[in-house]
């Protein structure tokens, strides 16, 4: 499923959305410890987290994630917003918890398989 469709179906807030938003989302990874994301997330995954600082953008770049969803109403700080815009990383948000968003994404991806 394309990122743009997921944004719509999960009613995600868009902070930055890049040209790569038309790419296929390969799955998801949920977690707030950066090393675990580096170790376990796969390229094209959607990362669901409460972290909202600039290092999140770097992790997304290094792993090759499709986007980051900041949950619990967290919003990117100024530095991460600027870095995401400059480097083409999509940053999204939701007022719901990581648990809720992960559950919704799982169901959505399972339905389309």
């Amino acid at each position: 499923m394309k990122l743009t469709e997921i944004v719509e179906r999960l009613s995600l807030e868009v902070f930055t959305l890049t040209a790569e938003a038309e790419m296929e989302v390969t799955g998801g990874y949920c977690g707030d410890l950066l090393s675990h994301v580096l170790a376990s997330a796969s390229p094209g995954n959607l990362w669901i987290t409460i972290q909202n600082h600039v290092n999140v953008v770097a992790v997304a770049q290094v792993v090759g994630l499709s986007a980051v969803v900041m949950t619990d109403g967290r919003r990117p700080d100024k530095a991460s917003l600027e870095r995401a815009q400059a480097t083409g990383i999509s940053l999204l948000g939701s007022s719901e918890s990581s648990f809720e968003i992960s559950g919704q994404l799982c169901r959505l991806l399972a339905d389309t398989r």
Binding site: L34, H36, L38, N55, A58, V62, R83
Partner: protein
């Protein structure tokens, strides 16, 4: 390529490793190798930022058959390398764990993504980590040497 990382420079955090991955891709290095180099560099960069007194340097060398990443600082040095290599063990301060660092996985992530992994550390002198990635697209499994 050489990158300087300053201690505590959170707002620039990850910029060296993101740049390293991008530069390697531009230089024609395959996606798997570039990604592994990015992960090694990120963990190294975070270690310099969180633990090293005066930051340090990341040096990347590209050869026909391998990419080598050297992460070097001048202290404080690691007292017990085996302990530092234990999954989940961390001495990160609270400000770092609040940001999602200090999972106790950094050195392990570096080793896992390396085909050759060396760590040398002495108290008061500093730490040097050398990671080599073979550009064969596959994994031979890492090996470790310490001192």
């Amino acid at each position: 390529m050489q990158y300087a990382v300053r201690a505590g420079d959170i707002d620039r955090g990850g910029s060296a490793s993101a740049q390293i991955k991008a530069e390697l891709s531009r230089a024609g290095v395959d996606a798997v190798t570039a990604r592994r180099a990015g992960i090694i560099s990120f963990e190294g960069e975070m270690n310099l930022m969180v633990y090293a007194h005066d930051g340090g340097t990341i040096t990347v060398t590209v050869e026909a058959d391998a990419v080598t990443i050297e992460v070097k600082d001048l202290g404080p040095g690691i007292e017990d390398i085996d302990l530092a290599m234990t999954p989940g063990y961390s001495t990160a301060p609270d400000w770092a764990t609040d940001l999602g660092f200090g999972a106790g996985m950094g050195l392990i992530n570096i080793q896992k993504n390396s085909d050759l992994f060396e760590i040398h550390s002495h108290i008061g002198e500093g730490t040097t980590i050398i990671s080599r990635i073979d550009r064969d697209g596959g994994r031979k499994g890492g090996s470790q040497e310490g001192s």
